[in-house]
Amino acid sequence: MFAGYSAGELTAIFAMQGFAGLILFSVFVLMALGLAIIFGQMGVINMAHGEFMILGAYVTYLVSHAFADYMPALFSFYFFVAMALAFLASGALGMLVEWGLIRHLYRRPLDTLLATWGLSLILQQIYRSVFGAREVGVTIPDWMMGSLPLTDMIEVPINGLFVMALALGISVAIYLLMFRSRWGQQVRAINQNRVMAGAVGINTERTDRLTFGIGCGIAGVAGSAFTMIGSTGPTSGQLYIVDTFLVVVFGGAGSILGTIASAFTISQAQSVLEFFLSGSMAKVITLLVVVGILMLRPQGLFALKLRK
């Protein structure tokens, strides 16, 4: 398939394909991090994860309109405000859900799965009633939609760079939170021994709520970022759910680093396969390989071998 192309052209294509893989990687990381925190640290399956993302996207949509109407001069920068608000909105909803729903189900992980699926249906219908069944168009500031010509042939999408930077930023932030903050220490303590953590004076209820809120908040930021590359509609969240879960499970629940490594593996595999095969087959093969590996190594790629 490469006959008749100059070396320069091929280099350019491979470079851009490399970027495409990195962008996909960043997208997966953004999708999965929030879920990984919730699933890995709390053992809760949040099937409404996609809907929390879409809440972030709708917040972005509203903020873009507010800026266009009231502060057109600052429109170029509304996105940062939107992301912050998306984090707060999704996080607040997350904490509300934890309080009303999740905390009653900590001992029944499969039941959280069903309950959050119900929640996702409700959220979808609320979005539909409030924002309409159609997708909404989120206007992205011009500077974010262009591409950066590196050479004559290599062009790097700015929104891709943005997503990559965001993924990196959030990963670092989570790492710091997890291993350098009091909250992170408490979360890890609770994860290892809930009763003991409670006994030494950690407010497990508050920590759980905060953890769930932060996980959902990250989903909201991800959703906000995805308005640059995807659609915003009542059911758009469903598009991400299977991929997201596979990334988290493949990485080995409980391991943030594992999630990132698994996102990298899956995204590179899919990106390369998509380049050499047709899209549908690439997807099927990627999923099959992931499921196959999971069957061989059910604890995921990066789980530790522990003494029972």
Binding site: L304, K305, L306, R307, K308
Partner: protein
């Protein structure tokens, strides 16, 4: 294969398991003879429960060999090990709370252990008589139809022992069988254990020294995954190494 080895019921040789570099059991070797009651003692974390886990297949060994009669246990699944004649009682009573005492015992009856065997299992006179007999042994004959969930802690321990009895294993492994019992229960249990360790080989983990002296043929003292001392109770008790790490603190 020497004749000497086959006369043992269980030969554990050079058994090692490591968890991410930490060797919980390290090159352990011991042999259990027919009708012997071997007691394992040692401080917390010495690797006693892990040894039982390794023998019954619950934990996979890193290296070494565990031979039961002429079978290598390390390559077998848990259920195959059980069917070969190795029974195991856990530290915390582990019975089926949603089932009745009768059903608990029935599930351990050594027949119909395959999928279709259990699908077409018939509760015939042989089964009922045997369960009745065992129930009387374990002081639960009046509670056969009670849900296991409603039993007291001690009764659950007895029930679990009963479930082992009905299996009739050649090698029985008991993990702290009298822990957490009232004085009266403990006495009854000791009596029960004395009765059942007849005619079979037994490995017991226990901290209660009075109880140990009562039943032990030989004692193995574990420390940091290795054998510290082995032999008759009297010999072990007077071993200065043992006194230092375990008895004399």
């Amino acid at each position: 294969m020497s004749i000497h080895q086959t006369s043992f019921v269980l030969s554990v040789e050079d058994l090692t398991v490591s968890f991410d570099g930490f060797k919980a059991v390290d090159g352990l070797t011991f042999y259990v003879e027919p009708n012997e009651c071997r007691v394992m003692i040692g401080p917390n974390g010495a690797g006693k429960t892990t040894v039982l886990d390794l023998i019954c297949g619950r934990t996979r060994a890193t290296s070494g060999s565990v031979r039961f009669k002429d079978q290598e246990l390390l390559s077998m699944r848990e259920d195959q090990i059980v069917l070969a004649g190795v029974g195991r009682k856990f530290q915390t009573p582990s019975v089926y709370e949603d089932l009745s005492v009768f059903e608990n015992l029935e599930l351990s009856f050594p027949r119909g252990h395959g999928v279709f065997g259990s699908l077409f299992f018939r509760r015939d006179a042989e089964v009922k008589d045997r369960i009745q007999e065992i129930a009387e042994t374990i002081f639960l004959a009046d509670l056969l139809d009670e849900k296991a969930a409603f039993l007291s802690h001690g009764q659950k321990q007895w029930l679990e022992i009963g479930m082992l009895l009905i299996q009739d294993p050649e090698l029985l492994m008991l993990d702290e069988p009298v822990a957490g019992m009232s004085v009266a229960e403990r006495k009854k249990t000791a009596e029960l254990l004395n009765r059942i360790i007849d005619h079979r080989s037994v490995i017991v983990i226990e901290h209660d020294m009075g109880f140990v002296e009562d039943i032990a043929t030989r004692v193995t003292v574990l420390h940091q995954g290795k054998t510290l001392s082995e032999g008759k109770m009297d010999k072990v008790k007077n071993d200065p190494k043992v006194i230092e790490v375990y008895l004399g603190h």
